[in-house]
Point group: C2
Chain length 551, copies 2
């Protein structure tokens, strides 16, 4: 058996090492276009910021190590130009010598990754307009960043924001330009409000709903013209507007490629050619929640895909193929002292697909409030209103957000419901959590909603005041809290006075109660319902309002 | 409906608040023996250490708040002396006035908690020998600790070790005495090795396999005589040797009580009397993994049980009862900069019950190694060797242990297998995790074992050298690593030289390979197997050896 692997970074390197462990006697050739294998892609922004030093730390492994330990025939600077599927050969070009040759295969694994998008704008090829994907890129940025007082980052995705943080740590004046009306497009907009605030607090200029239209060289610098006409002088521009799957090789060879450009594979990660498999950022995957075909460039899935493909290639047809279960899109980003993370479907995705869902927000502390250092967070959980099955979750805050999103990621993987969240038995000591963990709290709220005990309205209906004439917004916080800010048109009856002041409330209309985070609103709603009022809780309270309307 | 609740701390207070939300018009009486309701039990050691200040922070809520918000009839300093099940009344004694009276009920909920054990040893009633369970206790300890230069903590459970840490923070000379040969008895012994080391590094004297036999007052101080005959002078002794369920009231009333003294309840938390329910530390629960009847005093389960019991009491017989699913025993403790946590069944429990299991150890960093600040941890995962179902997990290390044990707790709750661990898609950015998360790593190792790709022997067979004449211990680390310490009787062939030195190895015996953490041992095992040797990996490598034999 001779296995040829195109690409030696995440999926390719994982597949190669796994292949050797499975098949000691197979011939395994790894063809990598770049000079490095298996480098720490996700560490690049932190190398720009100086957090990671020396540069060697970015090398997860080296060609020499792979040769020695796994007896892999690793060839870097080797570009695969084409595939001859009938002959089962690939055409390889040695980028150092220019020599071309054919390499035969019994099985071919494509792991070419993805390339940063460079929109075809005037001046985009200026030497001061860079992208960040590999070590060559990071060297180019590092060479310029010392002298770059003003940096513009185009694109406010995960890498764009990590770059912004790291540029600020190096005291660069940093502007982030994002086409959408929010940062971190995989998350729902309101959940990104604290991240925008964190960026602005640290002096990052964040321009939303704005895009770059042209880049004009000015000496060694560049002037960025925005769609709005504004011009931003910059010494360095970094484009972080997404990646496109490197599927040209596959497409040229006639393999099936999806609408978004990803190589199409089956559950066993085999392409439309039975002798060719594909993994990583170059493939189209199944969304584990919605079932749709998506492009999700993430390191974890790429590594797991590499293992699965290697197993399926080398273990022969007598075993049922290992199955890739799809991608949930679990992702996280740290921006200064704040953290945002997500897993599963976003609300915007569910809405776009027309899938039924409900949502809850909770705003708990990351550990017991009575122990010093508790940091607040917001968790949003999306679920099926009929069954309670969890569809997605997002978190924003500080410490402990990663833990809760991981817990919720597992719950989604397991097909659990909001009723299961109520019952989760998680670690509790005062410095680690609470007897009622944030995840339990989200479960209580959501399960109460599904069971019908806890009628809720989404905050969106009340952002501009009562949605209609027969509805009143009832703020059940203290008069002091109310006086410091409240929903437009709201009336104030503190929850602890509510039972004595029921006579002030309309019996012929609807009452939407709210408090700061939702708990007193819930208690008020239960009181009102049991006294015969038509009432619901405005989910997530005033804090959720402030996420939608940061003022 | 009139509900009387005996006990107003965790389970009782949760039940009372839930009951009011469910039934606005019910009469709800809470009878609490102590002066406080719902206090932060788990924060008490940190109040001793001065981390939590002022004392008010320990009060999660107050009787006044419960009366105001939930219209509860809360009576503190009110001891329930007896239950008349036929008349449906309880006899209440007002501890301040001495007055006794009968209170009738339609439904009775018992949430009396547990009492610290005070072994009947000579001198145990000395005023310098205290326990820690409630605010009265913590006041007594606080009153003595300033003047107590030497403190002996008897019992090295979770609270005992939290106390030890907090006493050291206050510069008390602290000795911990533990009857068992390990600290933290719910964990397996080897997993507690780093915790013992942390205690000793900070100057705590840890005496294992030792117990207190007598306490002799000496002025205001006390001399502790140990079973071994050794005497420890102390200004303060704190007993943390466990708790017993407060089930006398229930037993006197003829309710079923389990062998360990816990009140017996059904899945709906109803006792053997259909008008009486019970929750919290006083009840016997079902172990969610083994199915056995156990006593597990934990705050999270108590709170959830309170909610469930309230629902079942107040929603009437027309709805199916809410079901308590059992307790997993998820628990965590921080000891200085180290953390230990567990969930599900321990190895010792599985062995005692004769249940089939296998185990794996991994020793990963808590986040990407290339990002600064990565802290090491050890994870142990126990699973069914036939199906791969996860039975238990333990972790010890620093940052990120809580997250992995929470993830594994959810996996156990969901009935997941080690194959599911392989596929988990968890948060990855360099400061939060790794593309292959520690949980994935444990899954890879365990799944390889179940699939038969990765034969493993437990480290226990090799602690004293090769287990028999036909077995060799093969250290596949570098010669430098080998020279710094290795298993007794091991031979050294570095993994990267293995293929060239196969001739040195016996074809008629068995080879147990190992490295530092298990990964190179795994690669070596795969090489050896495919070259026809009888080989297995010594699970968890030299680090696991050191946990068993800390030198």
């Amino acid at each position: 058996m001779k296995l040829v692997i195109v690409g030696g970074v995440a999926g390719g390197a994982s597949a190669a090492a796994r292949a050797r462990r499975v098949a000691e006697h197979a011939e395994i050739v790894v063809l990598e276009r770049g000079p490095d294998v298996s480098f720490a892609n996700c560490g690049l922004p932190y190398y720009v910021g100086g957090e990671i030093r020396p540069r060697d730390k970015l090398l997860v492994t080296t060609p020499a190590r792979l040769r020695e330990r796994f007896r892999l025939d690793v060839r870097t600077r080797s570009n695969v130009e084409s595939i001859d599927r009938a002959a089962k050969t690939v055409r390889v070009r040695d980028l150092d010598t220019g020599r071309e040759y054919d390499e035969s295969y019994d099985a071919l694994l494509l792991a070419p990754g993805a390339t940063p998008l460079r929109p075809p704008l005037p001046g985009v090829d200026s030497p001061a307009v860079l992208t960040l994907r590999n070590l060559d890129d990071v060297d180019r940025i590092a060479a310029r960043v010392d002298a770059a007082a003003r940096v513009v980052v185009v694109g406010a995705g995960f890498i764009g924001l990590e770059l912004a943080e790291n540029l600020v740590k190096r005291d660069r004046k940093t502007t982030v330009v994002e086409l959408q009306d929010q940062v971190l497009p995989p998350l729902d907009r309101e959940m990104t409000t604290p991240i925008v605030a964190a960026l602005r607090e640290r002096g990052v200029e964040v321009l939303l709903g704005e895009s770059a239209a042209a880049f004009e060289p000015e000496g060694g610098a560049v002037s960025v013209t925005l769609q709005s006409g504004r011009r931003l002088p910059a010494d360095l521009v970094i484009l972080g507007v997404g990646v496109r799957p490197e599927s040209r090789l596959a497409a040229d060879a006639g393999l099936d490629v999806g609408q978004r450009g990803g190589i199409r594979v089956d559950e066993g990660l085999r392409t439309s050619d039975p002798a060719i498999w594909a993994v990583g950022d170059a493939i189209e995957v199944r969304d584990a929640v919605t079932g749709g075909a998506v492009q999700v460039p993430l390191a974890g899935p790429a590594n797991r895909q590499g293992r699965i493909a290697a197993d399926n290639i080398l273990r022969g047809a007598d075993r049922p193929p290992a199955r890739y279960r799809g991608t949930q899109g679990t992702a996280i980003v740290g921006v200064f002292d704040r953290v945002a993370a997500c897993t599963g479907a976003a609300e915007k995705t569910l809405r776009r697909l027309g899938l039924p869902y409900r949502k809850v927000y909770v705003h708990p502390a990351h550990h017991a409030g009575y122990y010093p250092g508790a940091e607040g967070m917001t968790l949003k959980v999306l679920f099926d209103p009929a069954t309670g099955r969890i569809l997605g979750a997002q978190g924003v805050g500080g410490a402990g957000v990663d833990k809760r999103i991981d817990v919720l990621a597992v719950a989604i993987q397991a097909g659990m419901t909001v009723f299961d969240l109520e019952e989760m038995e998680l670690c509790y000591a005062p410095q680690f959590g609470s007897a009622k963990d944030p995840v339990n709290m989200a479960g209580f709220v959501a399960a109460g909603l599904v069971r019908g005990e806890h009628p809720q309205a989404d905050m969106e209906v009340a952002l501009d005041g009562p949605p209609d004439d027969r509805t009143i917004l009832l703020d059940v916080r203290t008069t002091k809290e109310f006086s410091e800010g409240h929903l437009p048109g709201a009336r104030n009856v503190p929850v602890d006075e509510l039972r004595d002041r029921l006579g002030e409330l309309p019996r012929d209309g609807r009452i939407l109660a709210y408090c700061q985070v939702g708990q007193r609103g819930y208690i008020a709603t239960r009181i009102l319902l049991q006294h015969g009022f038509d009432a619901a809780n405005l989910g997530g309270g005033y804090r959720t309002f402030l996420l939608h309307r940061p003022g």
